[in-house]
Amino acid sequence: MITSESRPGLPAFVRLQFEPVRDAWALLSPEKVMWPDEVSHDILKRCNGKATVAEIISSLAAEYDAPEDVVRDDVCGFLQTWADRRLVVA
């Protein structure tokens, strides 16, 4: 379960990298390539295994100038879905 104290990171088999041919960020995993949108990318790039979910939420709320409560629901929902698919580890 993702909580505000979790420190999410990307598993060793997943890599987030910029792809110049398509001018887009790509998330590479063993069998799939995903194309995170801007918001997803802003969350994923903060998943470094060090920052807590609470810190990620504060940082995003500041960047988007949005209330933390709203950001929290979105971020926790996103991270839980990705953790269930083993694309994020916490």
Binding site: P11, A12, P30, V33, D84, R86
Partner: protein, 365 residues
Amino acid sequence: MSAPGPPIGMLAELTHRCPLQCPYCSNPAKLLKANTELETADWTRVFSEAADLGILQVHLSGGEPTLRGDLEEIVSALSSRGVYSNLITAGVNIKPERIGGLKDAGLDHVQLSVQGATSEVTEKIGNMKGAHEQKLATARVVRAAKLPLTLNAPIHRHNIHQVEDFIELALELDADRLEIANVQYYGWALINRTQLMPAWDDVMRQVDIVEEARERLRGVLLIDFVTPDYYAEFPKPCMGGWAQDAFMVTPDGSAMPCHAAHTIPHLTFDNVKDKSLADIWDSSPAFDAYRGTDWMQEPCRSCERREADFGGCRCQALAIAGDAAATDPACSLSPLHATMLKIAGQTQAAGETADDFTYRRIGTQ
């Protein structure tokens, strides 16, 4: 029809040589000998072209790719361009230090095939003594090197009762992913279809086991399930659609939309020694043949699923319907779907008393 955009993935069959002789091998029945294989410089050039083209993932396969002494150089050519490299290996006859060398060269991921969950089944399927223990040892070396690991278990009548054991094995070996992949019947698997076809009840039991395990192991082990075509309701979008986002290159450099495309006799393939990957992707006649939806017949042409599954597998359509442009008979909307189910039932019954496998060997077909 022109290319839909740049390709995402490429499967590189580096060699057809292999220490195992699995009777469902995805290589063609007519295997290529070592002296026809591309040189190191050919592959490194091809991978550079692949990166330029926008390819993000290359699966290094065979045969057994570690039989290429230049595999480290090949992996380096990919990692230096940021291409995700996946080694698809049988995990036998590999010196442990080789794994560390591949990791140092920038390898991203290892996919290890497991033929059985026990020595007995692994040895029978691969026709190699001691293969099982070697595979387990390789898996442990891979994890000790901190390389991500997927186990791939091709499923058929001789191991469908081991699906739970494969899940346990994946957990025991600390794998990140497990593929429970029901055998697809073309090439060698079509030759051995009678010996391999599982029974309906076993297939249904397998589905329940996989669904339960996926729920129980959510966030722990990712289980990918490749469903059995002969018992399907809808076909798979083979290769994500013909020449839509991936393709493969054979050991001698032929660029094909899928493993089995050579079974479609009217197709001719370009070779990476003669043309750039960009040219091949854009205008190879074999890639254009079934790209998109324009080639489709009914019931595919007007089907709302036509861009979800692209009509299924062209090679299976040819093998069963006798027409590569027909709807894949795995689809319940195909007029031949009942025939396919009947074939499954008949071959499965005949398999009870069938002779031994026709093992995959160079020169036997």
